[in-house]
C-alpha cells in the first residue's frame, strides 16, 4: 500500500505527537532553572548536577545495573535453552506444562508474580536483597527471551543443522558453529530486552527485595509519589537519551546491513 490520504497524515501526526510530546516536555523541563516544574524560568543544567551528587540515586543506579546485567545474562542462557527445547526438543513428558510456564509470565500481572515470589522467598527463608531480585527478574525475563529466540528458531532452515551433522559435526558443534552464529541477533535482542525489562521493573522488585537493596525505579517511585521533581526530570531525560541513542543506532545499523546485503545479492546475480 502507499499513497497517504490526508486522513492518514493527520492520524499519524497526532498519534506520534501524542506518543512523543509528553517525553519531549519532560526533557525540555529538565533544563528549567526553576524548582516550579511547570513554569519556565530559564535554561539551566543544575538539576543534572544535583542528581550526580545524590548518593542515594547513584547507589540505586548501581544496584539496578548489577541486577540488570546479571539477570539478563542468566535469562538469555535459560531462555535460549528453553526456546531450543520448545522448537527442537520434540516430545517429552510435561511439554504442555513447560510451554504454559513459558507463556504465562508474559501475561501475568506483575503484582501477582511479585507476590508469589515474595511468598516463596519467605517460605524458604531466603534473605531478600540483590540476589532475590536477580532470581525474580531472571524468571520473568527468560520467558521474553525464549519467545524472541524461539520465533527466530521457528523460521530457521533446519537443513542447515542437518548439513552440519552430515558433514561430521557433533550435535553440540552443529549448535555452536552453525545455529548459534545464525540466531545470534535474536539472542542479542533477547538479552537487550531482558536488560531493559529488569532496568524498568518496579513492582516485582518491590516485592522481591528486602531493606538492603533499593533499585532505581523504586527510588524514582518513592520520589514521584510526592509529585513532579526536577531531579527526576533530569534522570528521566538521561534514561530517555540512552534508550533513544541505542534504538536509533540499532535500527540504522540493521537498515544499512540490509541495504548492503541486497546490493551484494544483486551484484552477484548480474555477474553470474
Amino acid at each position: 500500500m502507499n499513497r497517504l490520504s490526508p486522513f492518514n497524515v493527520v492520524s499519524l501526526t497526532f498519534g506520534f505527537a501524542f506518543l512523543y510530546l509528553p517525553m519531549l516536555i519532560l526533557v525540555i523541563f529538565s533544563f528549567n532553572s526553576s524548582k516550579l516544574v511547570t513554569v519556565w524560568a530559564g535554561f539551566s543544567t543544575k538539576w543534572y548536577g544535583t542528581l550526580f551528587q545524590n548518593e542515594a540515586f547513584l547507589d540505586a543506579a548501581w544496584v539496578t545495573l548489577k541486577v540488570a546485567v546479571m539477570s539478563s545474562t542468566f535469562a538469555t542462557v535459560l531462555g535460549t535453552m528453553a526456546a531450543y527445547v520448545l522448537v527442537r526438543g520434540g516430545r517429552f513428558m510435561g511439554r504442555t506444562l513447560f510451554s504454559g510456564m513459558i507463556y504465562a509470565p508474559l501475561v501475568m500481572p506483575e503484582v501477582i508474580t511479585g507476590l508469589s515470589l515474595l511468598l516463596l522467598f519467605i517460605g524458604i527463608g531466603l534473605d531478600r536483597g540483590v540476589m532475590t531480585i536477580v532470581l525474580a527478574h531472571t524468571t520473568f525475563s527468560m520467558c521474553y527471551v525464549s519467545v524472541v529466540v524461539s520465533s527466530r528458531l521457528a523460521t530457521f532452515d533446519r537443513s542447515l543443522e542437518e548439513a552440519a551433522l552430515d558433514l561430521g559435526a557433533s550435535q553440540f558443534d552443529a549448535f555452536r558453529l552453525v545455529t548459534l552464529p545464525i540466531i545470534a541477533p535474536a539472542v542479542i535482542s533477547g538479552w537487550l530486552l531482558a536488560f531493559t525489562l529488569s532496568l524498568d521493573d518496579l513492582v516485582i522488585a518491590s516485592f522481591a527485595t528486602g531493606p538492603s537493596a533499593t533499585t532505581l525505579p523504586m527510588k524514582i517511585w518513592s520520589s514521584v509519589r510526592l509529585g513532579v521533581s526536577p531531579e527526576i526530570n533530569a534522570l528521566s531525560s538521561i534514561l530517555i537519551g540512552i534508550v533513544s541513542v541505542g534504538v536509533i543506532t540499532a535500527s540504522l545499523m540493521s537498515k544499512r546491513h540490509a541495504v548492503r546485503v541486497r546490493r551484494e545479492e544483486q551484484a552477484a546475480q548480474r555477474t553470474a
Binding site: G15, F18, L26, P109, I112, Q171, F207, V247
Partner: protein
Amino acid sequence: MRRAVLIAVPYLWLLALFLVPFAIVFKVSLSDTALAIPPYTPTLKDGFSALISGLDFENFVFLTQDDLYWKAYVSSLQIAFVSTIVTLLVGYPMAYGMARAPEEWRPTLMMLVILPFWTSFLIRVYAWVGILSTEGFLNQFLLWTGIIDTPLTILNTNWAVYIGIVYTYLPFMILPIYAALERLDESLIEAAEDLGCSRMQAFWLVTIPLSRNGIVAGCFLVFIPALGEFVIPSLLGGSGTLMIGKVLFEEFFANRDWPVASAVAVILLLILIIPIILFQRNEQRQQEAEQ
C-alpha cells in the same frame, strides 16, 4: 543425556520460581492472618495434618462480603475495557497510516512506535503528572487558548488513568494491527473497488475483516495487562480510583494482610484465565492460517 539436561535446567527453574510460588499463593489464600513471621497460619512447621485442617475459604468469603473488593474487580474490568476500546480507536488509524506510508518510511515509523516501548514505563507514566495537574501544561494551554477559564481537574481522577493506559499501551495495539495491514495485498482493495465498492465500503468489507486477527491480538495485549495494572492507577488515579492491582499492593504492604492479598490474587488470576485462553486461541488460529 545432553538433551535431558537441556530440558531439565529451564524446566526445573520455572517449576521452582513460577509454579511453586503459585501453589504457595494459593495455600496462603486459604490460611488465616496471624501476628507472626510470616504473618499467616498455619505454616509447614505446624505439621502436615494441622496444615491441611487449618485451611479454609474464609478469605474468599470475606472478599464477597466487603464491597471494596468486588467494586475493585468491576471497576478494573471497566477501566481496562474502556481503555482498550480507546486505544484501538487511536491505534488503528496510526497502524493504517503506517501501512499506507511509502515503503522507505516504514522502518522509521516502526522504530518510532517501538522506541517508547524500550523507554521506562514508570517514566512515561510520570511524564503525564506534570501535564495533567491543575497547573500543568494541558491546563495552561487550554487556558491560554481560551477554551476554558477555570483549570480542569484531571490528575487523580479516572480520566488520568484512561489517558495513562492508552498512552503506555498504544504500541502494543499498533504493532499487531500494523503487521496484519502490512501483509494485506493492495490488489484485494483494487479488486473490491473494481467490483463496485466505494473506498469506504472496501475498507469496511475487506481491510477491517482481514486485519481482524491483528485487532483481536492488540486488544488482548492491552486488556490483559491493564486489568492488573498498579503503577498507572497509583500515580495518576485518585483515592476514588479502584483497581485491583492497587488494592492488592496496599493490602499486602499497608495492611500486611497476606492471606487476603493472596485471595485477591487468586481471584484476579481466575478472571484473567478467560481472556488469556481467548488470546492464545487467536494466536494459534493465526499461526495455522499462515501455514
